[in-house]
């Protein structure tokens, strides 16, 4: 699990938006824009003032580097008019009084050399922190070159307002010629902002290459237009220098402030081009006009609110749980840490078991952070700590055991052949859904490639998803042994999940997709013709396949060979999302699985063509018109099978292949029930049983047990009997009626619970043997 964690340090979730990063005063744009969207001009003004120090001055002379940084500054689109929004705040905010903080005076003297915008900003910020600030200005007035570019009332009023509650000393007409003069007066730090062509006191030639030094314990740094910076950057320099001086006085470590570029990546799908709102007010001094309150709100609403959120856009899980990968990582670390849940939090226990393992998190992340990998590793950790709730995976593991039991599992050489160059491995689900698809595929394979054996069984992926590494290894060794016994054939796979499992865990076995072969065979001999409604379909690629995979091309070429008109799904140009089956999360969080299915079927009103049987069944369950590519090739009608029928189908395939293709008699009876009880079950009830992941054979056994032991409760009003028995770890309840025939019963209801009824065997002081 630990190997996945370092990558999370590269997460760009907390990177600043492009505009904030480009902004010389680092205006927190999320705060600013969000407040404006709500029409809260006072709050937005506060955000602007906190960032810029002197908002009226900053708004007036800002050169707007944010415009070029804005992703909306592209063809057919215009950047957000942040400067107009700042001016709107100045116009519409009616509470501009600065806050008066009651802080103790800090006994450190700071000299600011130069009373221009940079020096005044530094003085203001440090005076706010209650340092003892002295501004030395060689002329008779503060403001520097601001006198040349704007009405003096603008900046003098702003200086006055923002420094209303601040104490600082101003020495005008006082030119500092030598820093020694300042240091000898006991100043602890100096900010040099002497303006363009001003005295730099040798700071530009320091060894570090940065205009700062520590001399006799005094920290000295320079900034502003002295360094050739534009006015808005000079303001930013002054504010940043104040922070550097504050840190220096606390740590004795002088670090020159630097502008860090954001590493932000914006997903293409977030880019929505738009035009700027035109300002309609012309009654202000602004040349281009200014925004009305409504226009300002409208312009703020246009902001994309840039954030690297590819994971939230593409990953179904992060979107559903409203959590970022960094938070999920922290929750997983807490959940998988040793210790009892009584003394520590386990916030991710269900989430870990909900992920569909589609891999889109890693694929879409600009830093390739593998959240899915971490989640899978967490499942394994939970299993090894014996903290995995058994119910999340019990049904799927029992299903796998059945597929790999003597009743359903088959490994057979090609008919009439000693060895097999190929072997068909349809996977456990294709035949469970529709046995015809497996039998007809195998017949087709034999027609083209007679030296093909067959392996019916499960690839072991339920054990991977359950975090049971030991069981997974057992399944892999079984496949490997049988593959070798067949003479190491090329495996022909029908299930994309099996293919993924083979590629990851059985790289020594060469595997090809059935659909690649079929596309080639039918290309040569012509595609079967079948009457199909004249409509447009969309191909839904299963999540284990990737854009360059040949199987994607093969399925499209089969469709075109079958004269089927298809159009791509809008959301699947680059990525393939999961149908909800992946990861086996449907028991851990049925609502999530349902939401994913709903999302997938809503992506297009076209009927879908799939080549994963689990996708087909997931969409069929939602009432979507959907075909497996084999349904179309063989002219089969898709239908849903209950959990019980799925088992019977697997047993039936084995029996039929042994009989019809190999002319052998099955050694094991495929009967799934012991036959002691005949149950009449209505269609609705069969569906209800299946939806609870219960099996009719288990229900039969519970009825047989109740009848055998007499452990039932009789309801005279309904003339029915109720009883229960644990099957595996699940307690099954049945309600049934007796018929005239002693071996036949009518099932009225069946349900289950996960809790165990305890201590029932001992009652009234004597032990009752409930097992007979």
């Amino acid at each position: 699990m630990e190997k996945y964690l370092p990558d999370f340090d590269k997460c760009l979730q907390h990177e600043k938006p492009f505009c904030t990063s480009a902004c010389p005063v680092h205006l927190e744009m999320y705060d600013f824009i969000d407040r404006l969207r709500e029409g809260r001009f006072n709050a937005a003004y506060k955000a602007f003032r906190n960032a810029s120090g002197f908002p009226a001055v900053a708004a007036r002379f800002c050169s707007q580097p944010c415009r070029e940084a804005c992703p909306l500054d592209s063809e057919g689109s215009q950047p957000i008019e942040i400067n107009l929004l700042e001016k709107a705040c100045l116009m519409y905010a009616d509470k501009k009084e600065p806050t008066e903080y009651n802080l103790p005076v800090r006994e450190k003297k700071i000299a600011i050399i130069g009373g221009g915008i940079s020096g005044m900003a530094c003085a203001m910020r440090l005076a706010t922190k209650r340092f003892m600030v002295t501004v030395f200005e060689k002329s008779e007035k503060i403001g520097g070159t601001l006198w040349d570019i704007m009405d003096s009332s603008v900046f003098l009023d702003d200086f006055k307002l923002q420094m209303k509650y601040l104490d600082y000393e101003l020495q005008t007409g006082c030119e500092v010629k030598d820093l020694g003069q300042i240091i000898s007066q006991g100043f602890h730090a100096v900010y040099v902002s002497t303006g363009r062509d001003g005295n730099d006191f040798g700071l530009s030639g320091t060894l570090s290459g940065k205009p700062c030094m520590v001399k006799d314990g005094t920290g000295i740094l320079a900034g502003g237009s002295l360094l050739g910076h534009d006015r808005i950057y000079a303001l930013g320099d002054g504010l940043a220098a104040a922070t550097a001086i504050d840190n220096f006085l606390m740590t004795k470590n002088l670090i020159y402030p630097e502008y860090n570029q954001t590493q932000m990546m914006l997903d293409d799908s977030r880019m929505i081009p738009s035009q700027a709102v035109m300002p309609s007010r012309t009654d202000s001094e602004e040349k281009g006009g200014s925004y009305t309150e409504e226009e300002a709100v409208e312009e703020a609403e246009r902001c994309l609110r840039c954030q690297c959120d590819a994971c939230r856009i593409w990953c179904d899980l992060t979107e559903y749980v409203h959590k970022w990968p960094l938070r999920i990582r922290d929750e997983i670390i807490a959940t998988t840490a040793p210790g009892s849940a009584d003394i520590k939090a386990t916030p991710a226990k269900r989430l870990i078991n909900t992920c569909t393992q589609c891999g889109l998190c890693k694929e879409t992340c600009p830093e390739s952070i593998d959240l899915g990998g971490l989640i899978l590793a967490a499942r394994s950790r939970m299993h090894s700590l014996d903290k995995m709730p058994w119910v999340f995976n019990d049904f799927f593991l029992r299903d796998m055991d059945f597929s790999n039991s003597d009743t359903a599992y088959l490994c057979h050489r090609a008919p009439h052949e000693h060895g097999s160059a190929y072997a068909f491995f349809p996977g456990c689900q294709l035949g469970a859904s529709d046995p015809d698809l497996v039998i007809r595929s195998y017949t087709e394979i034999l027609r083209h490639q007679p030296d093909s054996g067959i392996m019916l069984g499960c690839c072991g992926v339920p054990a991977v998803w359950a975090g049971d590494d030991e069981k997974h290894q057992e399944e892999l060794s079984r496949i490997k042994t049988d593959w070798e016994s067949l003479g190491r054939p090329v495996m022909i796979l029908a299930c994309p999940t099996c293919m993924d499992n083979f590629r990851k865990y059985l790289p020594e076995i060469k595997a090809v997709f059935l659909y690649d072969l079929m596309a080639e065979w039918f290309q040569h001999e012509g595609f079967p013709s079948a009457a199909r409604p004249d409509m447009t379909y969309s191909i839904f690629d299963p999540c284990p396949t990737k854009p360059g995979d040949s199987v994607r091309r093969s399925v499209r070429s089969i469709c075109s060979g079958l004269d089927i008109h298809t159009e791509p799904l809008a959301l699947q140009k680059k990525f393939a999302a999961c149908c909800s089956y992946g990861g086996h999360g449907s028991i851990a969080d049925p609502d999530f699985a349902e939401a994913v299915r709903e999302k997938r079927v809503s992506e297009s009103s076209n009927p879908y063509i799939v080549y994963c049987i689990n996708c087909r069944d997931a969409f069929l369950g939602k009432g979507k018109k959907v075909y497996h590519i084999l349904d179309l090739l063989f002219g089969c009608a898709p239908k849903l099978s209950t959990a019980t029928a799925r088992r019977e189908n697997r047993a039936w395939i084995k029996e039929r292949i042994l009989k019809e293709i190999f002319g052998e008699k099955p050694c094991v009876s495929p009967a799934v029930s012991d036959g002691t009880v005949m149950l009449e079950i209505s269609g609705d009830l069969k569906e209800k049983i299946s939806s609870q992941h219960l099996l009719e054979e288990d229900i039969c056994e519970v009825v047989a047990f109740c009848e055998r032991t007499g452990r039932t409760v009789y309801d005279p009003e309904k003339n029915s009997f109720s009883g229960y028995r644990k099957v595996g770890r699940m307690t099954h309840w049945v309600e049934y009626k007796r018929t005239g025939d002693p071996g036949t019963f009518i099932l009225i209801n069946a349900y289950c619970h996960r809790m165990e009824i305890e201590l029932e065997a001992v009652w009234n002081g004597h032990k009752i043997n409930i097992i007979e």
Partner: protein, 64 residues
């Protein structure tokens, strides 16, 4: 809880009565009153309880 007093234990031929029963799930035990045979201890859990309150408690414990 289902208070059907007409239910009868098939084995003991007596009416089921509400009595506390101990349940166990994911290494935790707790008690709840359900219909039970006063003679042999046979328990009856109606579907409303299994799919209602019990399922809620199960879901909470699965997150512990």
């Amino acid at each position: 809880m289902d208070t059907k007093s007409t239910l009868i234990c098939s084995r003991c031929k007596v009416k089921m009565k509400p009595v506390e029963v101990t349940f166990k799930y994911l290494k935790r035990s707790f008690r709840h009153e359900v219909l039970r045979c006063p003679e042999c201890g046979q328990v009856y859990i109606p579907e409303e309880l299994a799919k209602g309150r019990m399922a809620e408690v199960e879901a909470v414990l699965e997150e512990k």
